[in-house]
């Protein structure tokens, strides 16, 4: 494991992403709130450059017509088939009643309206050292 300085912290504004290359692999560095997160720039579904997608919120509707925007700016939507992933963990999210959730035996915690889907985008750890962003891989 080597530590790679990939950017200056001020280069990445909250709600944006910068794509860097570490060891030949593209990584998207995101700033969500005050924190930085890294995702491998590759969608687990069919391999699209995931981090070039749109940073979005999670839209939920407890009943038809009752729309609620949640988790503003915490999701990345794949630029190809629009699957959405949690930027902080790389976890794809899907509806608890969907076939995926049943097929993959996902544990639904009480009160949770979103469950984890079967796909996880690879995330990498990003740390801030002084004013530099450092990826360890």
């Amino acid at each position: 494991m080597t530590r790679h300085v990939v950017a200056k912290a001020e280069e990445i504004q909250a709600g944006t992403c910068k794509i860097v290359t570490v060891k030949g692999r593209e990584i998207g560095i995101f700033k969500v709130g005050d924190d930085f997160y890294g995702l491998i720039n590759r969608c687990p579904h069919q391999g699209a450059p995931l981090c070039r997608g749109e940073i979005v919120s999670r839209l939920v509707a407890p009943t038809p017509g009752d729309y609620r925007l949640t988790r503003p700016g915490e999701m990345i939507r794949c630029p190809w088939h629009c699957w959405e992933y949690d930027i902080r963990t790389g976890q794809s999210l899907c509806d608890p009643n969907s076939v995926h959730a049943r097929a993959f035996d996902v544990a639904v915690e009480p009160g949770k309206t979103l469950v984890e889907g079967p796909f996880v985008a690879e995330s990498v750890q990003v740390t801030v050292e002084e004013s530099y962003l450092v990826v360890t891989m």
Binding site: H45, G47, D105
Partner: protein
């Protein structure tokens, strides 16, 4: 929690995501070229029709002129977001980018063009529609097929103008830069109706398969029960359209009338085909007296005359169900397609969620299209 481990992590040792050898050289049965600007077709229009286009314009079958009936997600406008050329313009309008993202990346042997531009095939003024269809054909040659001979054109026609459509098909006969004739699947009447037979006959007589590529509107509601509310709802209505086409072609006896007619269903998926055939076969046994012109069971006509392309591929929750489906349709009747650069395009490396037997793979990615279109 069970995790599905899919073969889609990049090879850690390689610097970039190079396609595996087995996907190189495939034939892509659905590639969308686009115009650079609204005037691209102008050089191919006669003065009479150019002036019409500039001063009167098109009369499409839908009410909305500058968008589709079901606008796609934004940003991206229904395109792969990374396919917008940096130099400006619309996805699919830039040959070098298409080469980089598709043709060269996979060393594509042939790409079958499906130009959904110009409005010729769906134009209500059929004279103008025929002129625009001809222009679209010239445009394909000049902008795509000649600059990159891997790209094969699809002859555009307006099937509401029988004479012009037949003349256009005959004009292109023997031109190897064209692989097939493209007919919009959502027409004014089901495609098997007698009024369309002369055009279908001309296709068969000149060795052109007929490709039915989804999209667009006929002006009728897109489902038998009316207009859907969501794009998510509209998307599966394409399957109903395909089912209508297959059913119409079979029941009207088109394949009895034109025994060498070959039909390619593009962008409708395919997993629905077995169930439709089971139903048609069942009722054929009971209702034969109504359709005595059908000498064989509907599924036999389907097997002999219909090819399907893969995208947007079904992703069954039990991936092995895909193999049973392919087996029923026949691995010699399925052809791979990407639908580049649309948002729901498929990547040849990852589209199938289950490994295919090697001989199926060869057929689906290459050999079936090679045989159907008589390619080297």
């Amino acid at each position: 929690m069970n995790m599905t481990v899919l073969d889609r992590k990049p090879d850690q040792s390689s610097q970039n995501d190079t396609p595996a050898q087995s996907h190189m050289g495939f034939i892509d049965c659905d590639v969308h070229p686009y115009v650079k600007g609204p005037n691209d077709f102008d050089p191919f229009l006669s003065k009479r029709w150019l002036e019409h286009k500039q001063t009167i314009g098109g009369r499409p079958r839908q009410g909305l002129a500058k968008t589709s009936m079901y606008p796609r997600m934004s940003p991206g406008a229904g395109m792969r977001m990374d396919s917008w050329p940096k130099t400006g313009g619309h996805p699919g309008s830039d040959l070098p980018l298409m080469q980089e993202q598709l043709l060269d990346l996979f060393d594509v042997a042939y790409g079958l063009l499906a130009p959904l531009v110009g409005g010729g095939p769906g134009e209500r003024n059929v004279e103008f529609g025929a002129a625009m269809a001809t222009a679209a054909n010239e445009w394909q040659l000049a902008h795509w097929c000649d600059p990159d001979p891997r790209l094969l054109g699809a002859i555009q026609v307006n099937i509401e103008h029988t004479e012009a459509a037949i003349a256009e098909i005959e004009k292109r006969a023997g031109d190897r830069r064209f692989a097939q004739v493209n007919v919009p699947p959502r027409g004014l009447e089901p495609l098997g109706r007698r009024r369309y037979w002369p055009i279908l006959e001309a296709c068969a007589a000149n060795n052109f398969p007929v490709s039915l590529h989804l999209g667009g509107t006929s002006g009728h509601a897109s489902t038998g029960g009316g207009w859907p509310s969501f794009y998510h709802e509209e998307h599966p209505s394409y399957v109903q359209t395909m089912q209508t086409l297959v059913t119409s072609l079979v029941c009207e006896g088109v394949f009895e009338q034109i025994p060498n007619l070959k039909i390619v269903l593009v962008e409708g998926g395919f997993a629905w085909l077995p169930a439709l055939c089971w139903r048609l076969d069942k009722h054929w046994k009971r209702l034969k007296a109504e359709v005595p012109h059908l000498k064989r069971s509907p599924s036999e006509y389907v097997h002999d005359h219909i090819w399907v392309t893969t995208q947007p591929i079904e992703e069954p929750e039990r991936p092995q169900d895909m193999l049973a489906t392919l087996e029923w349709i026949g691995p010699d009747r399925v052809m791979f397609s990407t639908d580049y650069p649309h948002w729901d395009q498929d990547d040849p490396r990852y589209a199938f969620k289950i490994p295919l037997p090697d001989d199926w793979k060869r057929k689906i990615y290459r050999d079936n299209a090679k045989a159907l279109y008589n390619l080297d």
